[in-house]
């Protein structure tokens, strides 16, 4: 009842505020008139009587306000008043307001950006119906499966509504007489049906379209590709296009929001997996050992992941009995889909989690900074507050106004930070970090990001808004007014403000440490030995099956290309391989010692990154031969099987380099292979990896249509690229290819450490800015408080050093203390970085020295102006002012 009544009063007061106001006013005036009438009748003149009546009445405004409150109109009324008052107060000190809003905007902006990433990569499920039921099926530590295993899992499980398989691959698509490389998903027939996607246009392919290898020449365009390459023409449905020179019918267009089942990888189109042979030039569909498929299953409603895992493993047990060689001991596990299962999932989660933590620290530092600012402001306004208290304002009222100020600042900062972060996220969403590959992540801000940012802003507003409350409550008006501004005694012990500053400096030191560690790691990984030399090397990437070469035509064409390229004047070395180190995608080969007869995975001697390379490859890549010989054209299909291995392979399988040369090992099929050469170790999958075994096989013994030409030359890359383009066009005008310097191709490998260094560098920079404003605020405040004392000291002959020590000693003690704490914390935090950054060790003298120097430098920069101010204190002027 009471609630309803007060709500009604609130509502009516809101809508009838002026009417209510008028009524109160009229009643109070009526009182004054009646009183004046009485006084007049006792003999006073009317004017004098009215004056006396007003005096007797007391504080007219105050009673009017209290009457208003008594009538229940106080809430909105006071809120509007508080906001107006706080707004005026903030406008009166623009310096304070700007610094406060900007500081908070940095904190909120950083958090909104990182939260946007967290939201897009981790929190938000794939954009498909019932995404919470989707799981990626992984086999132990290997995320991909073979097609026969997929068929068994699909048909024999009981807990999934359906399981889809897909692979990502490049292909050549002919539109209007020109072939352009595109990326597609080869997807199982049930792909769209299990995921529950409806076509935007036309239809999708279904399981019923699959009738054996190459039986389903259909493609489905992505919305983006349809928009950019077919001008959103609704007439494309049914049109026949050439994919790798084979005729394919466009069935339909996928909806715009569906970007495939990998967050990082939005395909241009989808094609049936059964057509793998036409799309990739080879087909692993019949081999249980060719494990290239990603499997995603959709759980039946009510099934738990644990039940489904048990179900899959019972299938696995029967597979192990039937195919001990390929499926000897397999164990399935379920992971969240979207980030290549657990392969990218766990490092991305660790990294974004780490970033979120650091961004949280930024916000904490910003709050500490603002808390300090507000406390200082409250201290500077202690006289004003005391005056208000003395004039009858209540503590409650003053606190409410201070809090309103804090909330106004936090809202302004939050909005500013949010708009900045929305712009940044929008830019990140269209950013394509890697050449030639459609890798990008849609991290657009959504409602959740907005809400989180504004909640954070309000929360931090309340957090730093309550810092000065104790100060206000303790305020004794008489003492403050009597004492005057210089009466504030020097605080001897550490105050809350000191702790805030030291904490903030510690946080900033953590950020600076992480940034330096990341940048050092990036520098070191660029300097580390890659096992090849990207300098002066150009790569030409093509896939001969895009121009429909097959079988024996492939090696003939490859050799023609190599000869033509090697004959370009200025080219010093040329070779090719089916893939190159440190690029996306790799192949691992399981090898066994010569004496092994049981080829189970558990008996393997090593897992080696495998490359099929042409004669001349090592010279073109500038990979140093340590012993033995490189391949020649004589290492052909009929010659004995041979291999070149790296030093790590030799050590792992044979014990040493000397023992490896001339020795044999067996490949996964049991074929004996002789080691004819050993090359230096390098980096193969990521820059951060520890030494890996690598295996090079002659391309004539294991042919592939995928071709990476490596051309070494002292020519200008632009000139050479033109010559290469002409040469290759003259060989086959219909062959699609891309030309890049090796440095450019390395962007792929450098992407993760670069992104990490960039993110941490930005956060470190933010931390440094906050440290500067925090120290500046503290030093400036301490100088302005003690200006009079300093002036007297100078007048009495104090030296510059003594003055500075007196006023900045405390600030620098806090700086040293905070930095030391932050450095220690930062060293602990950088463990997270070692996932991504090469040798991210914090025990690096350069990093340690760098952090100490940076913090000292920041302290000096921040204290510079207050120090000048202190030294310039003129006792005469100061004393006159009092």
């Amino acid at each position: 009842m009471k609630l309803v009544a007060s709500l009604r009063a609130l509502a009516s007061s809101f809508f009838h505020r002026s009417r209510l106001d008028g009524e109160i006013e009229e009643e109070l005036r009526s009182h004054l008139q009646h009183r004046a009438d009485d006084l007049e009748s006792s003999g006073l003149a009317r004017a004098e009587a009215e004056r006396r009546a007003a005096i007797e009445f007391g504080g007219y405004q105050r009673f009017k306000e209290e009457s208003h409150e008594a009538l229940g109109g106080q809430l909105t009324e006071n809120l509007v008043q508080d906001v107006r008052f706080s707004f005026r107060a903030l406008c009166k000190s623009p310096g304070f307001t700007l610094v406060a809003v900007f500081t908070l905007a940095l904190g909120i902006g950083a958090n909104a950006v990182v939260f946007g990433m967290l939201n897009a990569l981790i929190l938000r499920p794939l954009n498909v119906p019932q995404a919470q039921n989707l799981y990626m099926i992984e086999r132990g530590r290997a995320p991909t499966q073979s097609y026969p295993d997929y068929l068994d899992l699909r048909d024999r499980n009981r807990d999934f509504k359906g399981i889809v398989a897909y692979e990502m691959a490049p292909a050549g698509l002919d539109i209007r007489d020109s072939t352009s490389p595109i990326w597609l998903y080869e997807a199982s027939g049930n792909y769209f049906d299990v995921l529950g996607i409806q076509p935007y246009l036309g239809r999708f392919f279904h399981a019923s379209d699959e009738h054996g290898p190459n039986s389903a020449p259909y493609i489905v365009l992505s919305f983006a590709y349809w928009h950019s390459h077919f001008q959103s023409d609704p007439g494309v449905v049914g049109r026949v296009v050439q994919l790798n020179k084979y005729n394919y019918t466009i069935l339909g267009v996928a909806p715009a929001r569906f970007r495939g089942t990998e967050l990082f990888f939005a395909p241009d189109l989808w094609a049936p997996l059964v057509n793998q042979q036409q799309i990739e030039g080879f087909s692993g569909l019949n081999s249980r050992a060719a494990r290239g498929m990603w499997l995603v299953g959709s759980l039946k409603t009510g099934m738990s992941p644990a039940e489904a895992t048990a179900d899959l493993n019972s299938v696995a047990a029967s597979l192990a009995r039937a195919y001990p060689k390929e499926d000897g001991s397999i164990n399935f596990a379920l992971f969240r889909p979207g980030l290549l299962g657990d392969m990218l999932g766990s490092p991305v989660r660790a990294f974004v989690g780490g970033l979120m933590f650091l961004a949280g620290l930024i916000l904490l530092a910003a709050c500490a900074n603002l808390g300090g600012l507000f406390a200082t402001r409250a201290a500077d306004r202690s006289r004003e507050i005391a005056l208000r208290l003395a004039l009858g304002s209540s503590h409650k009222r003053i606190l409410r106004r201070l809090l309103t100020e804090a909330i106004l600042v936090s809202l302004a900062g939050g909005l500013l930070g949010l708009s900045g972060s929305v712009a940044l996220l929008r830019w990140l969403s269209v950013w394509q970090p890697l050449p030639n590959i459609p890798i990008n992540v849609s991290v657009d801000a959504d409602g959740r990001t907005y809400i989180v940012a504004l909640l954070l802003a309000l929360l931090s507003g309340l957090l730093f808004g309550i810092v000065p409350i104790r100060q206000v409550l303790r305020a004794n008006p008489w003492q403050t007014i009597k004492g005057g501004p210089s009466g504030a005694t020097l605080p001897r012990r550490f105050t809350l403000r000191d702790l805030l500053l030291a904490g903030q400096i510690a946080v900033c030191a953590v950020l600076v440490t992480s940034a330096l560690v990341a940048v050092r790691g990036l520098m070191r990984s660029l300097d580390s030995n890659l096992g090849f030399d990207p300098q002066n090397a150009i790569q030409v990437n093509t896939d001969l099956d895009m121009a429909r070469y097959s079988g024996d035509q492939v090696p003939i064409m490859q050799q023609r290309m190599l000869d033509a390229v090697a004959n370009i004047p200025g080219v010093t070395a040329a070779g090719f391989a089916d893939r190159v180190p440190l690029n996306l995608g790799w192949s691992d080969a399981t090898v066994f010692t010569d004496s092994t007869t049981d080829y189970r995975p558990s008996n393997a001697a090593a897992e080696a990154s495998a490359y099929n390379v042409s004669p001349g490859y090592f010279r073109a890549a500038a990979t140093t031969m340590l012993a033995g010989r490189a391949f020649t054209w004589d290492d052909g299909p009929k010659a004995p099987r041979v291999a070149v291995v790296n030093r790590e392979f030799a050590r792992k399988v044979f014990g040493s380099l000397e023992q490896a040369l001339g020795a044999h090992f067996k490949d996964w099929g049991g074929t004996r292979v002789e080691v004819i050469g050993v090359v230096e170790d390098g980096k193969y999958k990521t820059l951060a990896e520890s030494p890996q075994a690598a295996l090079f096989l002659p391309i004539r013994q294991s042919p592939s249509s995928e071709t990476w030409l490596i051309v070494r030359s002292d020519l200008d890359p632009g000139v050479l690229a033109n010559a290469l383009r002409q040469t290759l066009r003259s060989l086959d005008a219909g062959l699609p290819f891309t030309i890049n310097t090796w440095h450019k191709e390395l962007d792929t490998a450098l992407f993760a450490p670069r992104a990490a260094s960039l993110a941490l560098g930005v956060l470190g920079g933010l931390g440094a800015m906050l440290a500067v404003t925090g120290i500046f605020g503290m030093a400036a405040h301490s100088v302005s408080k003690r200006l009079r004392e300093l002036g007297i000291r100078i007048a009495l002959g104090a030296q510059r050093g003594e003055v500075l020590r007196a006023v900045l000693g405390r600030v620098f003690r806090l700086l040293a203390f905070g930095s030391a704490a932050g450095l220690l914390l930062g060293l602990a935090a950088t463990k997270v970085l070692s996932f991504i950054v090469y040798q991210a060790t914090p025990r690096d003298p350069v990093v340690l020295a760098g952090v100490v120097l940076t913090m000292l430098f920041l302290g000096l920069v921040a204290a510079w102006i207050p120090a000048q101010h202190a030294l310039a204190a003129d006792p005469l002027i100061l004393l006159r002012e009092e």
Partner: protein, 113 residues
Amino acid sequence: MTDHAELLPGTLDLLILKAVSLGPLHGYGVLLRIGQISGRALLIEQGALYPALFRLVRQGLLKATWGTSENNRRAKFYELTAAGRRRFREETEGWNRLAAAMASALAAQPEEI
């Protein structure tokens, strides 16, 4: 100043209820009536009367109507509601008990203990 008694907290409301219980009054009239019935011994700050009046109206103890005063001026007249009369009775009894207890406590002589 010394011949006026300070008003105890909470007594203003009771005084207003008493004053209005003797007949409808406007604000200034309430003030005069309190002065009259207390023998001018109780000091009320004039302005402070109004927040108290409005509070009582909001609690539903008084009801207010605009009318014309004896001076021929527009004024708002207050009278007790049913709830106001009940509250007035309860508070009067409570006050009398308190006053009696205080009086007997203060009148106690050493030999009575």
